[in-house]
Symmetry: D2
Subunit: 359 residues, 4 copies
């Protein structure tokens, strides 16, 4: 189990789906940053299921409590402990699944690794694990925005076969993203995506999707080659989110089909700095930010737990039919939006502090 | 600069394109492993350019010397230092580019970050940096194969718009991969890929591509959630390779279009263990290996340095035309094959040692 | 701020003297270890002040709550979050000191480093920070004892000028140590030490002391040269405890006065292993345990906060007289005993897991 | 084996006594630092044995070669690889010891840990391992001196029972230290120490000693509580040096005998900053530097390998007599002086970069 992330701006998360609480210790937050529980609650509320007709119906209030590291509204430089108590536990809903590992779920691999598995729900592999991250990410975002003007905005760019049209990376805001429950700023696509999710739920099925994220106003110079290139750290961060299957930055897999003469981003003068007239690099060259917007896409598979009957075997190898009871999210990407933003913020806060030592 | 990778099986690389030498220190290699320079040279030779009509014409012998950590053909448990001396330096070829940052190259970002840039060639961002990795990876592979029977095989699955057909993940060997210079085991596709590369070179241009990799015979249980999931560590490792733009495991971005009922991998009994009848998960569930083959794809952009004229600006912002002199690789993916294998081996060797502590 | 310790068995602590709570996240605890809050409370109670006539009079109940990582009395392999709420805060007692940095206290350096200081008490530099460590250490001890039979026992070996006589490293138990409030198992010395502490308090003064610790039943092979030698990790751990000024292992500083012919520990056969007939090495050779008991001594300075008047200057440089109000511990070593045991346990649990990977 | 040290200013060493070479990779060195091999050779020459009548007679030239990371006399920001080739190997001298573990040497523990041991000499536990450190330390020292004016000076403060008198921490220079072969700046004590070493050699014996070190001109604010306090990192660094048995900072073990009213360092105004009128704290309070000189002492045991006959047993448990052949250092402390300075420099360079991120 490796529940820490970051070198200087470092988090350690704890908590599974049905224990007393989930939370995080955030170490390396600069002192004298204004910080309140309200700053953190905003992103937790965006992450929370049950806020709209697309998610599960569970009502998880997810109120965060700051335990340490903040006094009189200012950070002290000491580690910030945060706790969200678990309320709605209902382990009974999961009891019937304990002898049958859910296909494409972590039940089997957790048991193989640890020889034990939380008796109910997803344990540490459940989406509740991400609460600690998001609480920490809210601090990282505040630090980045107030000290550097860095903005991070993510949105749903596809659900199943429904794709959003072109989105303006330079101007998109979270308000525009949150205008639809599905968190796709392309209104027409948003309606089709919503229909896709509703249809999947009606079929007791689930559906995957893609989240796109842009980070604006980064200074040139972030990223630590050879191994901690900016894109490598982002890829690590994104693939650590449950249910992710892919990451691409800038031109991504489409870029692999191109020729250099078309792919290269020519330099141009932009005010008092060099910029590029196109941005197929996604704001990164040689593993280091170049001052252009960094943007990337993250693929999420359809949730494994579905109400439909599935042919599978139990731990003893006997064939059986599994149909999950309880309430399950038919599509995670709308809720994944703040988690993607969080992980991006944690990567950038860490790299910007490392780079600062060179100033 | 972060030139280390790994927690217990840990490497630290050094060297840039035109210094005295490049190399690596590998710490955490178990003692009493049989090891010789020949074991390492094999992968270095596969990485070396100039071996065929597709790469650059530079003749880089790249003979490795083991400096420490091995005695009488056995590892001692102490760090293994390895050195490859630089021979063919010709810094003159690059001199004309020093005032103009090459579009989509690391020239500009290195200067922004470090305030200085190696006077010639790509410095630390050049492909020569990967020599240290590959030398270390050869040791990791030997450790994995001899102690666990783990096999890692990568190949070129696309160049530009030319895609390989279906490849049998269960049986593909490096011998089959190396049967063509382009390292695509699909003979028909290999010829088309070769033509694509030859055409790009004729146009003084470059072209991108994709490398696919499979890791077989992994035990269930590898991967350290929440943050060091197997796929997260692989994504980090792959995106740390120069010129990469994307990573996907199992179903990847295509999986994001699917429904759960089609995507889920049902369990079946396989001999004395549970396995899955399909493998859209790519051998990983909840961030932990499940005993099925782990496979993934890595996107490489077209090389930035091309002989064609490009409109751009110099560091002072003046418009200029840049056309690279010297010999440049029109497509990196054939040579990237052993580098992808290397990074996979380094991830697995580290995770298998971490998991061992739980036995 | 670096609030994490350990590589595989890793802790992250949080909390200062007057925030909502203090605690710890312990990552890397093996699964299926029996664990309850009672296991942890034992050492927290030993650390707690106010239990006897020697400590401060504050009544800190320090009840630990396990937040995560344990289900039905067994560890899950996931991170164990633990919380102790702060009850007795009384910040008023410290108010008068805010403009005058206490001599030899962390007031000045925290302000120099962070530009802010917790408005009352010692903030993160206070002894309350050690609660998280001790809670984590209790888990490490249980793991070491149940899986390897490793025993760790510390005691007070001097207070001021009062030294304990010879203590039998092979048999000393915590029960014997706790027989006196001062935690010195030499009854005669214990009485003199008690008198020394009582006298210091009567003078509104404080007094230093030394804690000795022995670790028994270690297997040979623990320690990771070159940099993470067993004694180096122990020294790091011990000097991270507040108020420590020195560490010595085995013969220590006295050994620096000896000749090799007297200092060397000859080998002898002990049952089925080699042992040594003397143990000036302190159980460590070349940075690696040799199977003999590991023992070491830790020096603690007298507490900086005293009731006596001290001539000093305020932050503005004006001369002033400072006399601390409130209740202050005249001697920390009796309470430091479980903290020293804790840090030893954390080092050993980490190194034993790292070594296991080689088995 | 853990051969890396540091977080941002990070080294990875390699090499044992009789392999092809020893060296180091130094990562995180700021770019644009002037650096040549001559800068490094100075400390390597001070570390080298055979330069005077007190050390072994081996003639080890120890010429360092910079392999990477420096161009035209300036650092590039990329990792600096350095190599010192081994010349004088004579493994034959050690052959007779291979069946008998030398008392208090690492022979036994290395075999217990790794199941193999370098066939001759001390392998990785030999003093040659420290060459890589010293080469790296020379860079750290240059960085600290040129950017911050930080000076680090160590000397021999005792050999056996011979102690140096009071040394002026504020003014002592390396030139004064090197005025005697024994590296004790107290001339009278130096002669007695020399006699002690000569007598030990005449008796085919060895003798221990103590090195004291002062670091001047540190800014206030260095050190990362809770776990990476300045004194904790220094203790870790010093106890990682072969043959060390103890570390104390400031008042050290003597401070444990004192009362707070005598031990506390009152604040006084010193120019434009607060300072202290005494310095029993050793320049550190609460784990953070306070701007006063940091000084500490390191205890070295007498070398284990001696020419005298010793009763011991072989690996099979049979009683035998061991008398080492070959040339062995009767006292390591004069040569340890630059190694202690090196480790202090590595700790400070790392902590000063971490602190910089807060500026």
């Amino acid at each position: 189990m490796s529940s820490s992330f970051g070198t200087l701006f470092k988090i350690s998360t704890f908590g599974e789906s049905h224990c007393a609480g989930v939370g995080v210790v955030v170490d390396g937050v600069p002192s004298r940053l204004e910080l309140s529980e309200a700053d953190i609650q905003v992103q937790l509320d965006r992450r929370r299921p049950g806020g709209n007709k697309l998610g599960t119906e569970r009502n998880e209030a997810d109120q965060v409590q700051i335990l340490s590291g903040v006094e009189n509204g200012l950070t002290l430089g000491s580690p910030i402990g945060m706790l969200v108590k678990n309320k709605d536990q209902r382990p009974g809903d999961y009891g019937s699944m304990s002898e049958v590992p859910r296909p494409s779920h972590a039940d089997y691999t957790y048991r193989a690794k640890y020889g034990i598995h939380a008796s109910s729900g997803g344990g540490r592999s459940s989406a509740r694990e991400t609460i600690g991250r998001v609480a920490a990410g809210a601090i990282a975002e505040k630090f980045l925005l107030e000290n550097y003007g860095i903005e991070i905005v993510a949105w749903v760019s596809s659900v199943g076969h429904q794709d959003a049209g072109e989105i303006d990376l330079a101007t998109m805001t979270r308000e525009q993203v949150d205008a639809s429950d599905v968190r796709c700023p392309d209104r027409v696509a948003a309606e089709k995506m919503t229909a896709e999710i509703v249809a999947a739920r009606a079929d007791k099925d689930s559906v995957g999707g893609v989240v796109t994220c842009v980070c604006r106003n980064l200074p040139a110079g972030l990223g630590e080659p050879a191994f901690d290139r900016l894109e490598a750290k982002l890829a690590h961060a994104m693939l650590s989110i449950p249910a992710t299957k892919g990451f691409e930055i800038g031109s991504g897999f489409a870029g692999a089909r191109m020729r250099g003469s078309l792919h290269n981003d020519p330099y141009v003068q932009k005010g008092d700095r060099l910029g590029t007239s196109t941005n197929r690099s996604g704001g990164v060259q040689g593993g280091i930010s170049n001052g252009e917007p960094v943007y990337f896409r993250v693929a999420f598979k359809p949730p494994a737990t579905i109400g439909q009957e599935q042919k599978t075997v139990d731990y003893a190898g006997n064939e059986t039919i599994l149909a999950a009871k309880g309430r399950h999210d038919p599509c995670v990407v709308p809720r994944a939006v703040p988690i993607v933003e969080t992980m991006a913020a944690l990567v950038l806060a860490d790299l910007i502090q490392i780079q600062k030592m060179r100033a």
